[in-house]
């Protein structure tokens, strides 16, 4: 476990350059490490899960497997939008657990060099930017590179654990 973590730290420090799948939420472009992406599927009916935080859209059937789907807009506290033709689900692999994330539009696969990635700016102690791998700058565009593992697990599992405890008394 500790080995894995040091590995991750090492990755973050040195090898951020590489291929990223970029997508849009609103006007902002985000990037996901390509190796974490399993597949991209169009919107399918999502079964809502009762008593879960709002950013958990529900579960879908991915060829016989039931996987959870996260609404990234809700997760980033952005206003919900109407589903369009371009709305789709990116299936990612987070610590060998498959999860879907709903995004407005998938853009492209970009090769971003290490030199073009800068660390996420510090907004002070109270703002947690841990889930941001870095900021990619290319051709005048700014892409927020996400550490999807941190986006989806850290806070969510904490929230879910909290939910499980809090639910009976809520």
């Amino acid at each position: 476990m500790s080995q894995m973590q040091t590995g991750a730290v090492l990755d973050r420090a040195t090898a951020r350059g590489g291929k990223y799948l970029t997508f849009f939420l609103g006007d902002q472009e985000y990037g996901l490490e390509i190796l974490k992406v399993r597949e991209i599927i169009g919107m399918v009916p999502i079964t809502p899960m009762p008593r879960t935080p709002s950013f958990i859209k529900g579960v879908i059937n991915l060829r016989g497997k039931v996987i959870p789907v996260i609404d990234l807009r809700a997760k980033f506290t952005m206003a919900a939008v109407e589903q369009t033709e371009e709305t789709c689900i990116i299936v990612v692999d987070v610590n060998s657990v498959e999860m879907g994330i709903v995004v407005d539009k998938v853009s492209e696969v970009q090769n971003i060099a290490e030199a073009d990635i800068s660390d996420s700016p510090s907004f002070g102690v109270s703002v947690d930017t841990d889930f941001i791998l870095g900021i990619g700058k290319q051709k005048g565009k700014v892409t927020v590179l996400l550490d999807i593992g941190r986006v989806l697990t850290d806070t969510d599992t904490a929230a879910l654990a909290h939910l499980a405890v809090a639910a009976p008394t809520a």
Binding site: V44, T47, M49, P50, R51, G58, G64, V66, A164
Partner: protein, 889 residues
């Protein structure tokens, strides 16, 4: 015409070889003769393979038979016969080289052959290969094996008969070379046995013969293994041994001698194998090889255990003894190869003892049987230690091993005997016949009294007590009951692959139904499209059935464990018990097999400890001193039913009542039915045993069983008659992966509730509904008041029906208490495959997983107890928030 040339070339070279062999081979060179016979057989095959040479095949066949007769020493002048054979081969060669075909000296040659070989009828027509045997029906290997196993020492007539039968079997049809080689080796051994001076021991030779016939049987059943004869393949050690046995100093014989020597040796060599050595061997060997070794050994151990248990009821079952022997033998060989000295030594000593059992010197009952089982257990411990070491565990040195080795080396010195033998259980042939109404009890008894040394079946037929057909049928039934059925072949597949396959098939079914339900297909006018879609649908359904059956395994291994448990417990309690397994082949999901084990163990322990009386008590009660425990499994209306019956003293109603009253479970027995009273034993803390014993009586028993069974969505019932015995009946679902669910609608959402949890559904009227202060809503059904929970409220669903009189109430069972759930509608009953909500979300209270519905969407399965506690909390919370403002106001 290359092929023709090629085959005729092959024939020619065959003939040349035959010709030279005929010259060089002498009467005494049995191996050479066997090879010659084989050459003739190959020639016959080659000749029969081509239409223009087919007529010649019968000559080759006749020549082959003549050779066999030489082998059997039935030909008076072997030298002359060999010359004739050479002549025949030369003539055949000439006929094949049609360029200078001489006048076929057919008549002359054949006459010579007839005279020299003493063959009564050469059967040039090719089909009358009959030798001296009287039986008209084709001889099977089993007949021969039976004849050998029942052969009495000094019975020369029997020997001749066996020899004839074996020869006939060999002549019946073409078989792989290795098999016929072994057959001929067996023939030679027979000839040698007959040649042995009267009074001299033929045990060793008989043993070799037995081994050979076993080998042939094995090889005939499994031709590929025999034909490759791979020496590293431990499953067929006899295949190579058989061929080797034909020389006088065969390795097999030497092996036996060695093992005989070794028997005396281990006593001086104590188990000095240290853990260090195990570690060394582990380092030296390839982990993959070791993993295979472990699996293989565990398989063998299981087989050996099964056979040993079979011997419990049928101590004379030679096949079972052989099976045990083979298992130990193989383990010995492999562990020696891998350098596991301890294992090898143990297996060797056990093998030596089993060898004595095989030769009939001891019978594997009582103490010997215990010892063999102990050895099996120790083998398992050692193999598991190897397995553990693979996973990095520290190898252990079982403390009891040296003692066991010592006992095994000389069981008699350690006071082991066959004495403690449990009475001959198992179904007897006569009983079967009488039960089937095929024979008269008196006639059977008379025949049995006169049967003498021969088997009962024979005596019955002779005495005309039953027809041969019925006897044969009964014997087959008997061996089937004894579990003598042949195993079907199987391959090992990784579970994750199997699960993935089953998943994909499930998806295929959904995708297929989407296609067939598509408007374009439904409205299609082209019959071809419709037909193709239907065809694909049919295949998909079959595939689905097949994929579901992949998960199913027979209950056999579970039953075996129980058989072992019964045996051990009976020994400990000093009770004599007959264990009757029925329906071992009943299949059940492989996940279930593991989980039903615990409840079953509890039940078996109960039956042995509380159920069955001691032999003395049974005798006093006028019952058979040997008790019977029947474990029965069968499928009934989509469920697996497992019954455990004992013919013990049954449940004592008064005792239970007294106990229940003392424990405060009931106030009095008034108005309680037997079933209700018996149900009390499923209550926690209830035990009717007078004293606490090693196995049961601590008050944790039947409640554990009941909870275990209910956790599997099963039911357990109990029927009992005082003095006559009890029957526990478990009804379990076939699989845990599929549940029967009721699909309900709440708002726009669909959920699945396990049908087993639902009592009834109804639409209440306003009069039925009431609100209890502080306890939420209640509803009255059949004068029973129960809480009402609104699903939409608990799950936070909008657009749902909020008026109970317009929706539907489902009465569900929440751990014994009834409550009603408000839903919008029932959509129907459906079997669904339970899928865990894969990681990431974790456990969601009130749900028990997801299921893929017919349209490919996910439906959530409601976990009733979880949901009820959730809903109850929601109600309490709501009450509080309602009351709060009141207080502040």
């Amino acid at each position: 015409m290359n092929w023709l040339n090629c085959t005729s070339g092959e024939m020619r070279s065959l003939l040349e070889e035959i010709s030279s062999r005929c010259q060089s081979t002498e009467r005494a060179d049995l191996q050479g003769l066997v090879a010659l016979a084989d050459l003739f057989a190959s020639l016959e095959q080659a000749l029969a393979g081509r239409p223009e040479t087919t007529p010649l095949a019968s000559y080759a066949k006749a020549a082959g038979q003549a050779t066999q007769r030489i082998v059997l020493a039935e030909v008076p002048d072997a030298a002359a016969a060999l010359t004739t054979l050479q002549q025949i081969s030369q003539w055949l060669a000439a006929t094949l080289n049609q360029a200078d075909a001489p006048t076929p000296p057919e008549a002359e040659v054949l006459a010579n052959l007839k005279r020299d070989s003493g063959l009564a009828d050469l059967g040039v027509g090719g089909n009358t290969a009959a030798t001296g045997s009287q039986s008209a029906s084709p001889v099977t290997l089993d007949d021969i094996a039976i004849a050998i196993s029942t052969l009495m020492p000094g019975d020369t007539a029997g020997l001749v008969q066996i020899k004839d039968r074996l020869a006939e079997w060999l002549a019946q049809c073409a078989r792989p070379q290795s098999v016929s080689e072994m057959g001929f080796s067996a023939l030679q051994v027979l000839v040698k046995i007959m040649a042995v001076e009267p009074g001299e021991s033929t045990d060793k030779l008989m043993e070799m013969l037995g081994t050979l016939v076993d080998g042939i049987q094995e090889a005939a059943d499994n031709p590929t293994a025999a034909s490759t004869g791979c020496p590293s393949d431990p499953a067929s050690p006899t295949a190579s041994a058989g061929a080797a046995a034909s020389s006088d100093q065969s390795p097999l014989a030497t092996n036996n001698l060695q093992s005989a020597e070794a028997t005396s040796r281990p006593a001086q060599t104590p188990a000095s194998q240290t853990v260090q050595q195990l570690a060394d061997s582990l380092q030296a060997a390839d982990p993959a090889l070791l993993a295979d070794f472990v699996t293989e050994c565990l398989d063998h151990i299981e087989n050996a255990e099964a056979s040993l248990l079979k011997l419990e009821t049928d101590p004379t079952n030679a096949e079972a003894v052989n099976a045990v022997f083979r298992a130990f033998h193989t383990i010995k060989g492999t562990s020696a190869f891998l350098g596991f000295g301890q294992l090898q030594q143990l297996a060797h000593l056990a093998e030596t003892m089993l060898d004595r059992a095989r030769s009939g010197k001891i019978q594997l009952t009582g103490g010997y049987s215990d010892l063999a089982l102990e050895a099996t257990d120790m083998l398992r411990t050692l193999v598991q230690s190897v397995q553990g070491s693979l996973g990095g565990e520290k190898p252990v040195d079982p403390p009891t091993l040296p003692h066991l080795l010592q006992v095994l080396a000389d069981p008699e010195a350690a006071g082991v005997s066959a004495e403690a033998s449990i009475a001959d259980a198992g179904l007897r042939l006569g009983d079967i016949l009488v039960a089937e109404g095929k024979a008269d009890r008196v006639a059977v008894e008379v025949a049995a009294a006169d049967q003498g040394a021969g088997p009962l079946g024979e005596a019955l037929v002779k005495a005309k007590a039953a027809s041969a057909k019925d006897v044969a049928g009964a014997i087959r039934l008997q061996s089937r009951l004894a579990g003598g059925e042949s195993e079907s072949q199987s391959v090992k597949v990784r579970i994750d692959r199997l699960d993935a396959l089953i998943n994909m098939v499930g998806e295929l079914v959904i995708a297929q139904s989407m296609v067939s339900q598509d408007q374009m297909v439904i409205k299609a006018t082209g019959t071809r499209l419709v037909r193709n879609v239907n065809h694909a649908g049919k295949i998909t359904r079959e595939l689905q059935d097949l994929s579901m059956s992949l998960r199913m395994v027979p209950l056999k291994s579970t039953f075996q464990k129980m058989a072992r448990l019964v045996r051990d417990l009976a020994g400990k309690n000093g009770k004599s018990v007959r264990f009757v397994p029925e329906g071992e082949d009943t299949e059940i999901d492989r996940n279930m097999v593991e989980v039903i084990n615990d409840p079953l163990v509890h039940m078996v322990r109960n039956a042995l400890d509380h159920g069955l009386e001691s032999p003395e008590r049974r005798r006093e009660a006028g019952k058979d001193p040997c008790g019977t425990v029947t474990l029965r499994a069968y499928h009934s209306s989509g469920k697996v039913v497992i019954e455990l019956c004992d013919d013990g003293h049954g449940l004592n109603r008064d005792k239970i009542i007294a106990k229940a009253v003392a424990k405060g479970l009931i106030e009095s027995a008034a108005g309680l039915t037997d079933a209700e009273i018996f149900d009390l034993i499923f209550k926690p803390g209830f035990s009717t045993a007078d004293k606490v014993t090693e196995v049961s009586g601590r008050g944790v028993g039947m409640d554990v069983v009941k909870r275990g069974v209910e956790a599997l969505r099963g039911k357990i019932d109990l029927a009992s008659e005082f003095g006559r015995g009890s029957t526990f009946t478990m009804r379990l679902p076939l699989t845990l992966a599929i549940i029967d669910g009721m699909v309900i609608r709440v708002g726009e959402q669909r959920y699945i509730i396990p049908t087993a949890a639902i009592h009834t559904s109804f639409r209440p009227s306003d009069d039925n509904l009431s609100v209890a202060v502080g306890r939420g809503e209640m509803v009255m059904l059949h004068d029973q008041l129960m809480p009402l929970f609104r699903v939409y409220q608990a799950f936070g669903i909008t657009n749902a029906e909020t008026d109970p009189t317009k929706g539907l109430l489902l009465v569900v069972d929440d751990e014994g208490r009834k409550c009603a759930l408000l839903v919008d509608d029932l959509l129907g009953q459906q079997q669904v495959v339970v899928k865990s909500l894969a990681g990431g979300i974790g456990e969601i209270k009130g749900t028990a997983g997801g299921a893929i519905m017919g349209d490919g969407r996910v439906g959530l399965i409601i976990d009733v107890p979880g949901f009820v506690s959730l809903a109850r909390d929601a109600v309490t919370a709501a009450e509080r928030s309602v009351r709060q403002p009141c207080l502040t106001a």
